[in-house]
């Protein structure tokens, strides 16, 4: 039964990882608009914006 002392921190660590991923996704605005991404994925090529990535990081 002493393995439980190992298992508990491990499970809590993994669970905590998912919690952090969730918090990140909410802060990233992924829950703001759930309709448009579903439409975007249907178009063939993603818009390749030249300086989009630079502009994005400045926000």
């Amino acid at each position: 039964m002493s393995t439980i002392y190992m298992m508990i921190p491990a499970t809590l660590l993994i669970a905590g990882g998912f919690l952090i991923a969730y918090i990140w996704s909410v802060r990233n605005g992924q829950f703001e608009d759930t309709t448009t991404p579903a439409m975007r994925i249907l178009t063939d090529d993603k818009p390749i914006s030249p300086e989009a990535s630079d502009l994005e990081t400045k926000n």
């Binding site: 918090i23 608009d33 178009t43 502009l55």
Partner: protein
């Protein structure tokens, strides 16, 4: 004398005609008279052809593969000069979300976004012009956020680019007010996620304890599991339940009782009791129940926060007024923002433009449509020197006016400085739940104190304390707090599917209490534009009809335009010679060797045409003379919306009815018949009169629902207990209101109100159901024997049954009232 009735339905293109015409390669609409053929494709107009060429040049033809009706028809051509005012620092600063001097970001509302191809095209905007960066579309909100480099492209160029593609953003006077604060949606789902996370993880440990794991083997896990559970529950109590602490504190300070107070007391009791058990090693606590409770409560809040992203329930005239207007500056015409206008400025108004402030006509003939402002159903003609009021729409040619009052102090806009608009109606406190909470809290306090006193008297202080906290734990009204949000939230969603949008859930409670219904006339009970055109006189033969149709195509005056639409059928226009229009009088022309005069009775009389006496007195009429002989007259009569008479008949049994119209008394008799003798009919009402009328009704103890559509109803809608704004298209402008309803749903209003009443009954049954659970729990708790496992089962069980009942029963109600499913 025979009478030929021409219904307005003749104006819509008949189906066979539609199939014969090729559909436009850009927008998919049928190509009619303005069709163009280019690049081996058909286009409905040159505007669509231009967009097609722009897209082809930029290699973006994939656009047309994404959807059949991908394109947006260009209704009116735009020039960049029109948008130059956007580059003025004062305007630009208000519109741009963010700017660091090099790059800026702006968010536009684009109503024409309608399909996947629009999303694709707008997100490929950077391919059109250098300097445009990343653009992101939010489809449900119909918004596009665009980043751009200030040095390479100006804001006006960007807007002109969007407009040239058919995606002209909505720019109105209200856009200058800056962005509205975003709702606290992000915070709520963070709280919800955290509570769910802790609930699930604590439950894993608790299940082990409930199954007696701690007594297996030699190790005792109980204290360890208790501490872990405490650690997991702490952030939930501190962060997820934050709003309950705040609400409870407000309740205490203002000495009012809302459902949040007993919930907060319950959370404190559970948390304190659990901590005591863990630290004293007497038990494992109720942390699983605690997190579950907060999790379920937050789900209820999340369900309650349902909002319609495209709709706005708090608009004022600023959202209706344009952002800019053309001002005459010496010999130059310049486009300026409305906020920069001063009294005395000369403004140029084209066909279809709005008058931004009270003004006097300098030159040109005004044909002003006041239907949205005063409720007058027919456009009025104004000459040079006469006053025109803000909000009217010019439907004639170009008009030059001089402003006589500032924008905010005009006849119409001064309505918004009335005190009704200053006070915020607080309808969140007086609701069913809070009224029940008062009784509930008193009962629980009595039971808790009674149980404690009973055990104390029997010399068992430990049991007394345990019983006291147990009662508070069990009485925590979780299921109760869920009953109303889920029953009313489901009702709100069912109505939303039928294009009846409610501001919030409390609106249903108010709808159920209404006992007086007040209607506006123009645009609410009558359909705008859908006037019935009738011809009085010997029936016109085909050649005459075609000649009249050809002639009306040359006029911009609303009366001939409507007559032309009504007799359009499938005529092809003929050449019209020597067309001459005398403003305010009539017009003359030669078509197919017939000399046609069309105009007022007095104008024909001045040309020695005998107008029969029975036709002279007809209002809203256009008289026709062919080759100098009187031929007959057209009359236009506003027609009621379909089934409006049935609605009035259905409502008159249960409600007091009244009519408030800004129009003249002309139609009093007609509406008198419709409403019956009991109803109160009022004509010639100014916007302030309407507000006052509603206020008087409320003073006499009535709960009033106002149904209106125009800006002139804005005061009445705001003052009424339940304001229902009628719109032709969802997303179009509507004044501040509680309900936004699509025009063709107006006849179903009685059904909607019956549904609301039944929904409120469902809430009461749900409340009773959840209270039953609470009292079963109370019985156990008062005996001082509340085990954590009982709590852990009872709490979710009660919540789930109450939620299930509330949603299920409301859905059943929806079917009963024929509200279920999508509208065909």
């Amino acid at each position: 004398m025979s009478e030929a009735a021409l219904n307005i339905s003749a104006l819509t293109v008949s189906p066979d005609n539609k199939s014969a015409a090729a559909s436009c390669a850009h927008c998919g609409l049928p190509c009619l008279t303005t069709a163009v053929r280019a690049h081996d494709k058909d286009f409905c107009c040159t505007g669509c052809q231009t967009v097609f060429e722009i897209l082809t040049e930029n290699g973006l033809t994939q656009f047309y593969e994404l959807s059949d009706k991908a394109g947006v028809q260009i209704k009116r051509p735009t020039r960049r000069e029109q948008f130059l005012f956007l580059d003025e620092p004062a305007v630009r600063e208000k519109l741009v979300d963010f700017s660091d001097g090099k790059t800026s970001r702006v968010t536009f509302t684009v109503p024409s976004i309608h399909c996947i191809a629009c999303v694709w095209l707008l997100e490929n905007l950077f391919q059109f012009k250098p300097g445009v960066g990343r653009s992101t579309v939010n489809f449900p909100k119909k918004e596009v956020a665009i980043q751009f480099e200030d040095a390479k492209i100006s804001l006006s160029e960007l807007v002109a680019l969007l407009a040239s593609l058919g995606y002209e953003p909505t720019l109105n006077f209200g856009s200058l007010e800056g962005a509205k604060p975003k709702p606290a949606f992000r915070k709520l789902i963070l709280q919800l996620g955290l509570a769910g996370f802790s609930f699930g993880n604590i439950m894993l440990f608790s299940i082990c304890l409930y199954n007696g794991l701690d007594s297996l083997g030699t190790l005792n896990f109980k204290p360890l599991f208790g501490y872990i559970s405490l650690g997991l529950a702490l952030p939930v109590v501190v962060y997820s339940a934050l709003d309950y602490w705040r609400s409870a504190w407000t309740c205490l300070r203002q000495r009012i009782l809302t459902i949040e107070l007993p919930i907060a007391v319950g959370i404190v009791a559970i948390f304190a009791q659990s901590c005591y058990e863990v630290f004293s090693r007497t038990g494992e606590g109720y942390f699983d129940s605690l997190c579950g409770l907060i999790f379920f409560l937050l789900i209820g809040r999340w369900f309650q926060q349902k909002s319609y992203e495209r709709l706005s329930f708090d608009r004022d005239y600023k959202a209706f007024f344009p952002l800019s207007v053309v001002r005459k500056n010496g010999n130059r015409d310049e486009t300026v923002p409305i906020s920069a206008l001063n009294v005395g400025d000369h403004l140029l108004l084209r066909h279809g433009e709005l008058i931004p402030a009270d003004a006097r006509i300098v030159s040109g003939e005004g044909v002003i449509d006041y239907s949205f402002v005063t409720g007058e159903s027919e456009p009025v003609e104004k000459r040079a020197g006469e006053l025109v009021y803000a909000g009217g729409q010019q439907t004639g040619g170009v008009l030059e006016v001089q402003m006589t009052k500032p924008v905010s102090q005009s006849y119409l806009t001064s309505l918004w400085s009335h005190e009704t608009f200053a006070k915020e109606r607080n309808d969140t406190l007086d609701n069913i739940l809070n009224r029940f909470t008062k009784r509930f809290t008193i009962t629980v306090s009595v039971v808790a104190l009674g149980a404690a006193a009973f055990w104390w008297a029997h010399g068992q202080p430990n049991v007394a304390l345990k019983a006291f906290t147990s009662v508070l734990i069990v009485a925590c009204p979780c299921a109760l707090a869920l009953s109303a949000p889920f029953a009313l939230g489901t009702a709100q969603r069912l109505l939303g599917r039928q294009k009846v949008f409610l501001k919030n859930q409390h609106t249903i409670e108010t709808l159920a209490k209404v006992n007086t219904v007040v209607f506006d006339k123009t645009g609410t009970l009558t359909a705008p534009g859908a006037a019935k055109v009738e011809f009085h006189g010997a029936a016109l033969n085909e050649a005459e009809e075609r000649a009249l149709f050809s002639m009306t195509r040359h006029s911009t005056h609303p009366l001939p335009v409507r007559i032309g639409e009504a007799i359009a059928k499938q005529h092809f226009p003929e050449t019209v010679y020597s067309f001459l229009e005398t403003p305010g009088k009539g017009m003359e022309a030669r078509v197919a060797n017939q000399e046609i005069w069309m105009g007022s009775a007095s104008w024909l009389a001045s040309r020695n045409v005998m107008v029969p006496t029975e036709h002279q007195s007809r209002s809203n009429s256009v008289h026709i003379a062919i080759n100098g002989a009187y031929r007959g007259c057209f009359t236009l009569q506003t027609s009621l919306r379909q089934d409006a008479d049935k609605l009035i008949a259905a409502l008159s049994n249960d409600y007091d009815l009244a009519l408030l119209s800004g129009d003249n008394e002309r139609e009093r008799a007609r509406f008198g018949d419709l409403f019956g003798a009991r109803a109160n009919l009022n004509f010639n009402q100014s916007p302030l009169n309407k507000l006052g009328f509603i206020h008087n009704l409320q003073q006499s103890g009535k709960t009033v629902m106002m149904v209106g559509d125009g800006l002139n109803d804005a005061g009445a809608l705001k003052q009424s207990d339940s304001g229902v704004a009628v719109v032709e298209n969802i997303g179009a402008f509507s004044p501040a209101s509680d309900v936004i309803i699509e025009a063709n749903n107006v006849p179903r209003l009685s059904q909607i109100m019956a549904f609301s009443k039944d929904s409120v009954r469902i809430v009461w049954v749900s409340i009773m159901l959840s209270s039953a659970y609470n009292f079963i729990g109370l019985g156990i708790a008062a005996s001082g024997k509340l085990a954590p496992v009982v709590c852990a089962v009872l709490m979710p069980l009660s919540s789930i049954t109450v939620v299930g009942f509330a949603c299920g029963a409301t859905h059943w109600l929806g079917r009963k009232h024929k509200l279920g499913g999508k509208q065909s």
